[in-house]
């Protein structure tokens, strides 16, 4: 013996021949091999051996491709026949899957949109925002406002910090009156910022040089959309805009429209030197500036957050209840919902992303389970086919493949339908989420491919159980006509129903709790009267200056019950200003400048001391009112007469004259924080007008008329105070609606499954119903008997759903400091709803079966 061919070659060889010839041919070829190696050497023999293998490749390839193709054709044929034979079942199956997939796609689009925020920024991984955290009664409160000198100090102190960008966008001026040659508009998003803004952030200019555009003095960059309002199609470069009637800026750049998924959303960028509030400059005590940093490389910020302590120590002295944190740019959209003070207006929360991903998975799972359930339930119909195939020699694995292929086919049909559904519902979802969502905003072909693969996976997953189940039939039993009792499969199907309804009940409870909490937010007494108050913003300095005459004129009208001015209003964002209360340390406190009518117009209650008064001249300079929370926080026993120090544009030193009862000036997410009211009528940015409830339109007309006589060239903008509060819970409200929508869908899918199962059962038990009727059972009794079998499991599903829902919703409610209770009535009502819906689905079917003439069902016996 002259040695063997290499093992690997033998392996290849054995792959290329029929299994029954394998042994013989391997042996024969080994003989040839040794003969050739004797004659011509081993090397030649080796070459020869490999050549034989390679020459057989084309044939092997052809066979391996051809055989499955032939099989596939048969499977396809059988599948299509099956689909045709049971159209209703197929429809239920596919529509369930389609709705599930469409939901998933929609949620996916939504999540992708949420995650895409600020990703277009080229320096995204190197940009950080500095946020401030204050320790307030044991909890760290975060806000995005920072002192003005911080940016420069950080650049100086840390070599890692390449650039610092300041953005000034004060909380008390949300809109600026901007005018150009008689055209004037209120612009909501005017940023006073450094020239490095355009360098750090990726907002390409269509016209103008990004290097010099914001270098000043008094220059501005305008966005395309804003430019069209003022200049039409003309180029805005070199034009002059007047901000607030006093700041004139020259436009040096035209920026493209801002992507909707940017948390920075400006219409006008103004060079920093044009910033009007100079008292903010070099002031470490007010937190009114947004600071963004560009680092030299994607550091983890922890590396020098510790060194930040030095900066604080240098400028604040030894304080332990105050710190700076670096927030990565990409975290801003999803991780700053709790921030009291923030630039980003369309913030979302990572919790929503998680919750919606979970819902998507749940709904898809529901649809898959449905599919498994119905396919298995129909297995009796396929049993003969399986038996026959087995008799002729089909192997289990082949049958498994066949049924898997069938479910993949259904999944693909569902996928096509789902695409249509998703496209159809996209505008609806866009409205619901208040986002411009589109399926095509990312890489469409890739997405479609991924979705397609997802659909195939769904098909494989939902086909796995039926395939396993069907391929297990024993041909002897099946062909004899004995399907076996199928106890086990029935049990599994019931478990699947249990699972589906657990999820449905869970979602119903979730929706109910969200609904209840939203109602709670809307209906609970806030500590002041938010109805019937009209908020008239005074955006520009002219209307600010004209506030007094506006007030006096309005007061003449008997319809108007009161007019007050305030720098910030409850329900909006409240500025923080550094305060030094007596017997306490310096800390930023929420504060509002108001006039003497504020208490009356808002309907606040004074529990101690007195209101501000016009008659007392010193009030304007040194009178303060605080809320009860502030009294507690400052550790005062008797507040009136306590001294308070504020460092603002001038040093305002004064004393507390009164205490107002706590009221909810912020959302229920936050505890009622200390609040300081200061008297200053020149700072009024809003006029609060209390009107008569039954004469709303007349009152509004009166306000409009008064405004018109005073400011003929500016339009009146107004809103109702209560709508501003509703705005605070907008995201919850929205979430509630979306939740509701998806709950309905989940319930729909579950019912679809139940419906299919019930139809199956009724068909299966037609004879039983007939015999029972003959023996004298009433149709109602039979219907009840049949429904009971399912209702049992639906009821059981509640038991699983309750603890899970309790846990999840309890956690969700933790988001609110002021929250409703998780009453038992929610759980009971949700369960009753689920049971009723299930009963309607099953009951109708069983009742129909019970009503049929027994002669018909027993005819063939």
């Amino acid at each position: 013996m002259i040695g063997k061919p290499p093992r690997i070659a033998q392996w290849f060889f054995s792959r290329s021949v029929r299994s029954e010839d394998r042994e013989i041919l391997l042996g024969d070829f080994q003989e040839f091999f040794s003969e050739i190696s004797v004659k011509k050497g081993r090397r030649y023999a080796l070459l020869w051996y490999w050549k034989q293998i390679f020459r057989s490749f084309p044939r092997i390839l052809a066979h391996t491709l051809w055989a499955p193709f032939v099989l596939l054709r048969n499977y396809l044929l059988v599948s299509v026949r099956n689909f045709r034979k049971s159209k209703l079942n197929f429809l239920i199956n596919v529509s369930g899957l389609a709705v599930g997939m469409a939901c998933c796609m929609l949620i996916l689009v939504f999540i992708m949109d949420e995650l895409s925020f600020d990703r277009f920024q080229k320096n995204g991984d190197r940009i950080f925002r500095v946020v401030c955290e204050e320790l307030q009664r044991g909890a760290w409160e975060t806000g995005a406002g920072t002192p003005e000198p911080l940016g420069a100090a950080l650049v100086e102190e840390f070599p890692e910090v390449v650039r610092a960008v300041r953005i000034y966008h004060p909380s008390w001026v949300t809109k600026w009156a901007v005018s150009h040659e008689g055209r004037s508009f209120y612009e909501e998003d005017v940023y006073f910022t450094d020239s490095s803004f355009l360098e750090v952030f990726t907002f390409p200019l269509i016209k103008g040089d990004p290097e010099t555009a914001l270098k000043g003095p008094r220059t501005a960059v305008i966005t395309q959309a804003a430019s069209e309002k003022y200049f039409g199609d003309r180029s805005p470069l070199g034009e002059i805009l007047t901000i607030d009637g006093r700041i004139e800026v020259r436009i040096t750049g035209l920026a493209g429209d801002i992507p909707h998924n940017s948390h920075l959303f400006f219409s006008l960028l103004v060079s920093f030197d044009a910033m009007p509030d100079k008292w903010v400059l070099n002031n470490w005590r007010t937190l009114n500036m947004y600071t963004y940093l560009l680092l030299n490389q994607p550091h983890s910020p922890e590396a020098f957050e510790s060194r930040l302590g030095l900066v604080i120590k240098k400028n604040f002295g030894p304080v332990s209840d105050f710190r700076f944190i670096f927030q990565p740019l990409l975290d801003i959209h999803l991780h700053s919902r709790r921030f009291g003070f923030d630039l980003a207006r369309h913030k979302s929360d990572i919790a929503y992303v998680t919750i919606f991903s979970l819902i998507a998975v749940f709904i898809l799972l529901l649809a898959c389970v449905n599919f498994m359930n119905l396919t298995t339930a129909r297995s009796m119909k396929r049993a003969k086919e399986v038996g026959l195939r087995k008799v002729i020699g089909a192997r289990k694995s082949q049958l498994r493949k066949q049924f898997l292929g069938e479910s993949v086919l259904s999944a693909l049909a569902a996928f096509a339908a789902a695409l249509f559904l998703a496209f159809g519902f996209l505008p609806f979802l866009s409205r619901l989420t208040e986002r411009k969502l589109s399926l095509t905003q990312h890489n469409l072909p890739l997405e479609l491919l991924l979705l397609f693969m997802g659909a195939i996976l769904v098909g494989l997953f939902s086909g796995s159980y039926p395939a396993m189940f069907l391929s297990r039939f024993r041909p002897v039993d099946v062909l004899k006509g004995d399907f076996g009792s199928g106890r086990k499969s029935v049990f599994v199907r019931r478990i699947l129903v249990l699972f589906q309804f657990s999820i449905s009940v869970f979602l119903i409870i979730g929706t109910a709790v969200i609904f209840k909490q939203n109602r709670f937010c809307r209906k609970t007494n806030l500590g002041f009267d938010k109805e019937q108050v009209v908020v008239v913003p005074l955006w520009d300095s002219r209307s600010k200056a004209g506030f007094d005459s506006f007030k006096d004129k309005l007061r003449e009208d008997p319809l108007i019950k009161g007019v007050a001015g305030a720098s910030e209003i409850p329900g909006g964002s409240i500025g923080t200003r550094g305060m030094l209360p007596e017997n306490n340390t310096w800390a930023p406190q929420n504060s509002i400048f108001v006039d003497e009518n504020f208490i009356q117009v808002m309907g606040l209650e004074i529990v101690e001391g007195r209101n501000f008064s016009r008659e007392i001249a010193s009030d304007e300079d040194d009178a303060y009112m605080v809320n009860e929370a502030a009294v507690r926080a400052f550790g005062w026993e008797k507040a009136v007469g306590k001294r308070l120090f504020w460092r603002g544009d001038r040093n305002k030193k004064g004393q507390v004259v009164g205490v107002v009862k706590d009221f909810h000036y912020a959302s229920f997410h936050q505890k009622i924080e200390p609040l300081v009211l200061m008297m200053n009528t020149r700072w009024a940015s809003y006029a609060l007008v209390r009107i008569q409830m039954d004469k709303i339109s007349e009152s509004l007309a009166s306000i409009r008329k008064t405004w018109k006589t005073l400011h003929p060239d500016h339009p009146l903008e107004y809103s109702f105070l209560d709508s501003r509060f509703e705005e605070l819970y907008r995201s919850e409200e929205r979430m509630g609606k979306i939740f509701e929508f998806f709950t309905l869908i989940a319930l729909f899918i579950s019912c679809l499954g139940l419906f299919g199962l019930a139809a199956q059962l009724v068909e299966h038990k037609a004879k039983e119903a007939g015999i029972r009727k003959v023996l004298g059972a009433s149709p109602e009794g039979i219907a009840f008997l049949f429904s009971r079998e399912f209702l049992k499991w639906v009821l059981l599903a509640n038991i699983f759903a309750w603890p899970a829902a309790y846990w999840a919703m309890h956690r969700w409610l933790q988001n609110f400091v002021y929250r409703t209770s998780l009453g038992w009535e929610i759980f009971v009502a949700s369960s009753v709803l689920a049971v009723v819906v299930a009963f309607l689905t099953v009951g109708w079917q069983s009742f129909r079966a019970a009503r049929t003439d027994p002669a018909r069902s027993l005819r063939y016996e």
Binding site: S19, G27, D28, E31, F32, P68, R73, R389, I392, Q398
Partner: protein, 138 residues
């Protein structure tokens, strides 16, 4: 043919498309004259008696014809003849020089012998009346 073929008889369509294409060429040939190769293969098997298997059959044919015969040229007719029932295939004992693998021995069947005789008869008929050609005039 690969492994996937096992159990393919389940499929009716498969029977028609693949198997028929395999046999179509040889349909109705069973009782007719053997081809030259088939004849040689059958004769070799008959000559080799107990020792007739792929390698020995090929070797025998190559020795007598003094030509190189490809493996396929021997193995395909062997298979075909077995299918037609002219040869029986038997499993032998594993041997060491083949790496412990069995041989497939072939044995001539009665039908095979008949077919051989039939072919010889035809051959004879053709040869019988052929005179020695006269090449000298050319």
């Amino acid at each position: 043919m690969g492994n996937e073929w096992e159990g393919f008889f389940v499929e009716r369509e498969l029977d028609i498309t693949v198997i028929s294409s395999y046999y179509r060429k040889n349909r109705g040939k069973t009782m007719k004259t053997l081809s030259r190769t088939e004849e040689l293969v059958l004769l070799s098997v008959a000559y080799l008696k107990e020792n007739a298997y792929g390698v020995s059959v090929r070797k025998h044919i190559m020795d007598l014809t003094e030509e190189d015969w490809s493996i396929g040229a021997i193995y395909v007719p062997l298979d075909r003849l077995t299918k037609w029932g002219f040869l029986d295939a038997l499993k032998g004992e594993p041997t060491a020089e083949r790496g412990g693998r069995r041989k497939r021995y072939y044995r001539l069947t009665k039908a095979g012998w008949k077919a051989l005789c039939h072919t010889r008869k035809i051959n004879r008929k053709f040869w019988n009346d052929i005179p020695q050609p006269d090449f000298e005039k050319e």
